[in-house]
Symmetry: C2
């Protein structure tokens, strides 16, 4: 496990690569399901937060989704265009934009209800392995939160 072990630069010895590839491939497999409700994957996880929170600022949404305004601003404008959300400035702090789910957006949730099950079928893990993976990923994500301020 040397710091300069040249084998560390082999693709098969990387941890990040299977993570990257897996995430990408699973998101790709969402597409046929998401096409039916006219959402992309990023739009879908955004709606997921809104189905739960009803309304949320762009900043809080970005923290939940690990996305910044450069990604969210155009995406939220698209969701607004589809009529699934509204965007309005906060009365208390005009800098903040509050995103809220519309009735149409809410109705989408029932159409999405079978998606997690459909995706589950394409991930070839036993239930207890899925829990293991979930735990490990969240451990990494929590590690990021405790990172030193840059």
């Amino acid at each position: 496990m040397n710091e300069k072990d040249p084998d560390q630069l082999k693709l098969e010895n990387q941890l990040c690569f299977p993570l990257y590839a897996c995430a990408k491939e699973i998101v790709r497999r969402y597409k046929p399901y998401l096409d039916r409700i006219d959402l992309t994957y990023t739009q879908y996880i955004t709606m997921m937060v809104l189905w739960e929170e009803r309304n949320i600022t762009v900043k809080a949404l970005g923290e939940r989704l690990y996305l910044d305004s450069g990604t969210l601003t155009p995406l939220l404008k698209k969701l607004e265009g589809k009529g699934y959300i509204t965007r309005e400035r906060s009365k208390e702090d005009e800098r903040s934009l509050i995103v809220s789910v519309t009735e149409t957006g809410d109705e989408l949730k029932s159409s999405a209800a079978d998606i997690p099950f459909g995706i589950g079928k394409c991930v070839a893990l036993e239930p207890q392995e899925a829990v293991q993976l979930y735990t490990l990923l969240h451990k990494i994500l929590n590690g990021f939160e405790n990172e030193p301020e840059k």
Copy 2:
């Protein structure tokens, strides 16, 4: 674990989301290291395959990296522009494009030698947990390979 359990649509109950977020955040943490050698993450994993294989067709490269020509063609043209690779049609089959690492591209490998170690520090996992994660991710990826032809 009902097929229509509404809680399945909560972000925190998703397996794909932490996968997506983790991959994205780790790639983002590569940036300062990769900036030094003027590569993006996708260019880096491409070079990693080339450091190992010396030369490879675009098709085989795409299979290794789970990327298609729509992503690879412009990326490979950039790597060619930087002088790290060459691109030439195969003599045996003019449809195939063979990508080869140049001497300059090869020299890059030693500059990259400390990157895996640097990234390792920002992933807060014990060595045995990293192995566990590696195993689970490869199990999912292998599951994809055995998928029915569409």
